[in-house]
């Protein structure tokens, strides 16, 4: 007697796709208009990305800083007195603020992260 267990091969493909979609889906839902993702990497590995962030004056902004590097970084924006403190490898930190004064503000890595640590800087432009 032939036992046909109805297991469609496409089930395998479905499982695979579900996993991929779950990943993309979750990351997509996390991003909102006033949210800026900022990747932290040592200068020789790509530096802050993006290095220039543009935001609107008076609009609430959430900075999601992801350390995708293998060493500890930090985030410090002295002009608006913003700090995220230490961000260890693999960690994600969020800071929310509402810029009131237009202008250009520099931000820096606040943890000695490489020989080129001093070059790990970026610009926040408030229009």
């Amino acid at each position: 007697m032939r036992r046909q267990t109805a297991l469609n091969p496409s089930l395998v493909v479905l499982i695979a796709m579900a996993a991929v979609l779950a990943t993309i889906g979750c990351s997509a839902s996390a991003s909102q208009p006033a949210t800026v993702e900022l990747l932290a990497r040592a200068p020789e590995k790509g530096n802050w990305s993006p290095q220039t962030i543009e935001v609107e004056q008076g609009q609430k902004v959430t900075l999601v800083i992801r350390n995708v590097d293998a060493v500890t970084h930090g985030f410090y924006l002295p002009g608006l007195d913003l700090t995220a403190g230490e961000i260890k490898a693999g960690d994600v930190k969020e800071i929310t603020f509402t810029p009131q004064v237009a202008g250009e503000y520099g931000f820096y890595c606040s943890v000695w992260c490489s020989d080129f640590h001093m070059h790990m800087r970026g610009k926040l432009i408030v229009r």
Partner: protein, 630 residues
């Protein structure tokens, strides 16, 4: 050579080894009164000095500074911990009241090789090490004295206690047999693993060049999977992983046209036969050795893990379309070789219950397949199988046997090592130089892995991770020379000495070389398990974090994302590792003496021929005790 003096020679030789390895060397730092102050600088990925030697009872102060990025310091056994930001000097103080060798590890993620940034604190006298060496030597000499006083019972009983033919059939319980006969087993586990490996691949790709210790792919594959494989799966169950491995799933589906139902289906592939001269462990040994050349990348970098796994997945699919059945698993999968060889030591087996039933049963449905299942995908002949090397535990033979004549047995460890050739062995070259070489290369691979991942040498880590091309080239050259040249030649010399000592001129050197190589298997299994514990216990606590946040997106799926790095039981590590080594050594000696009796014709020849090999195994045991604790 006078027989009665042999143990004395052994003892003298061992004492010389002991004193050579155990030389105390200089103490570190400055001693004022009973306080010893040592200045240590940390840089990627080493401490300078990397080995600190102090005396028992001293008050030790370690002044720590970092040369580059934020590092950490955690001392096994003592539990002292601190972080070292660059520009600061941190002090760690303790009383050295525990003797032995203790690793200190970086506790702040500082780069790719961070989990393996290690230094050694040696608190002398290193009693654990001396006790370990003495025990190895005593065990060796003891086995000789014991071996010469063997009674008839020792021929049939392991250590004179456990009958070699003792079997406990698990499948005599109906639910277990029903489970093994079900089409869903082990398919359900394969599908589950398939899902996990998709997550691993995504995590590896998404993780890119970030730190491995916070990456799901790197952690699950190299800390969890590898360690389970080495400590439980292979030593206890054999090719347990092959049973649940998701990599051949797509290939199986392409070949069979279905995943669920049994029977002979039309294959999409070419279904070619694998060349006869490569039906052995040579190709898998080469694949494994080749992949270990990149150990400095894929064990620490998410993207490298992704590339390696993707290559294996693609390889499995392509090969399944060209060659028949599980050719990829048998002859090309990098982890197949040591699983095959070492599963001969496992305490489980799939075997025929009653060979007489098979003699009269035609056609051989276990090999050809029928409507209930596929013919052995591993191209074994289940009705005549007597070794685990090529048995992937896929359980198809349970489904295809109409007489329920297959059994899953629990057995004494390592009985396959004694298995003789069988009638059908020409189909696959079983016991031979290929397996001997696999066994021998695993010594050098462990040595290199241990020094790289658990040793204090920053220069070696730089070489293995290819900080400079020249250094990497030097590593490749030295590594291949060690594995393909020095160790096999050393073993050949020992085999030659064994032949000379036995006084038997007829027995071929190749037979001695091959047959004796199997007594390295139990010690091999044990030292890999010991090595794996040294990876899991310090680094296992990164796992809760990656389970909760597999893609480093700041998720917290199970509420464990904030779990901090906490070394687990690292103070007990030396005892665990030494115990494993002793157990492995005991089995090696027990089986080795049996091999001697098979290789040589008379008992007298066997005892004499065994001496050089015994000395080699004792030396190997001492070497590993030194590597782990010296």
């Amino acid at each position: 050579m006078d027989h009665r003096l042999l143990p004395t020679y052994v003892l003298v030789a061992s004492c010389l080894t002991l004193s050579a390895c155990g030389s105390s060397g200089e103490f570190s730092g400055d001693l004022v009164g009973t306080q010893r102050t040592v200045e240590v600088t940390a840089r990627k990925f080493e401490y300078k000095p990397s080995v600190i030697t102090v005396k028992e009872g001293e008050t030790v102060v370690i002044k720590l500074a970092s040369e580059d990025v934020t590092h950490g310091f955690y001392l096994d056994g003592y539990g002292e911990q601190t972080t070292i930001p660059p520009g600061d000097i941190k002090l760690v103080g303790f009383t050295a009241n525990k003797t032995g060798r203790f690793a200190f590890r970086c506790s702040e993620t500082c780069g790719h090789f961070h989990p393996y940034m290690i230094g050694h604190l040696r608190v002398l006298p290193n009693r654990k090490y001396y006790a370990g060496v003495s025990l190895v030597v005593l065990l060796g000499i003891g086995s000789l004295a014991y071996g010469r006083r063997r009674r008839e019972k020792h021929r049939t009983h392991l250590f004179g206690v456990i009958p070699l033919d003792w079997r406990f059939e698990l499948t005599k319980y109906r639910p277990i047999r029903a489970l093994f006969k079900s089409r869903w087993f082990p398919l359900v586990f394969i599908l589950l693993n398939f899902f996990v490996f998709v997550v691993i691949l995504v995590a590896g790709f998404a993780g890119g060049f970030s730190a491995g210790n916070v990456n799901f792919g790197v952690m699950v594959v190299w800390i969890l999977w590898w360690v389970l494989l080495m400590t439980i799966f292979v030593p206890v169950v054999g090719r347990f992983w092959c049973m649940a491995c998701p990599f051949p799933l797509v290939g199986d589906w392409l070949q069979r046209g279905t995943l669920g139902s049994g029977g002979r289906q039309k294959s999409w592939g070419l279904n070619k036969k694998w060349p006869k001269r490569f039906r052995n462990l040579w190709p898998v040994t080469a694949c494994f050795l080749l992949s270990t050349l990149f150990v400095g990348f894929f064990t620490v970098q998410p993207f490298a893990t992704f590339v390696l796994l993707a290559l294996i997945v693609i390889g499995a699919i392509v090969i399944s379309l060209i060659y028949e059945k599980r050719t990829f698993c048998l002859y090309l999968c990098p982890v197949s070789g040591f699983q095959g060889l070492y599963s001969n030591f496992a305490a489980c087996e799939v075997r025929v219950k009653d060979p007489d039933i098979c003699k009269t049963h035609t056609p051989k449905t276990c090999y050809l397949g029928n409507e209930h299942g596929y013919g052995c995908p591993w191209m074994e002949l289940p009705f005549d199988m007597n070794r685990n090397t090529y048995c992937g535990l896929c359980m198809e033979c349970f489904k295809t046997c109409p007489h329920d004549n297959m059994a899953f047995n629990v057995r004494p460890f390592g009985t396959d090592l004694l298995a003789e050739r069988r009638r059908t062995d020409e189909l696959q070259n079983r016991r031979g130089l290929d397996e001997a070489f696999k066994s021998l290369t695993m010594i050098g691979i462990l040595f290199a892995f241990f020094l790289t991942m658990q040793g204090p040498y920053g220069w070696l880590k730089d070489m293995v991770m290819a900080a400079s091309l020249g250094g990497y080239g030097l590593f490749l050259g030295g590594y291949l020379l060690l594995n393909l040249g020095l160790i096999p030649v050393l073993f050949l010399v020992v085999s030659y000495l064994s032949k000379k000592a036995s006084g038997n001129r007829e027995v071929p050197l190749k037979k001695i070389f091959v047959d004796f190589s199997y007594c390295l298997v139990p010690l091999g299994v044990a030292r890999w398990a010991a090595f794996s514990l040294g990876i899991l216990l310090p680094n296992g606590s990164y796992l809760p974090r990656v389970f909760s946040d597999p893609f480093s997106r700041g998720w917290d799926l199970f509420g464990t994302a904030g779990y901090q790095w906490t070394p687990f039981l690292t103070g007990a590590l030396p005892y665990l590792q030494l115990s494993l080594l002793f157990v492995g050594l005991a089995f090696s000696l027990e089986y080795g003496y049996r091999f001697a009796n098979r290789i040589f014709t008379t008992e007298r020849e066997a005892t004499r021929g065994w001496i050089p090999m015994l000395l080699f195994i004792i030396a190997l045991g001492v070497f590993f005790v030194w590597l782990f604790e010296g």
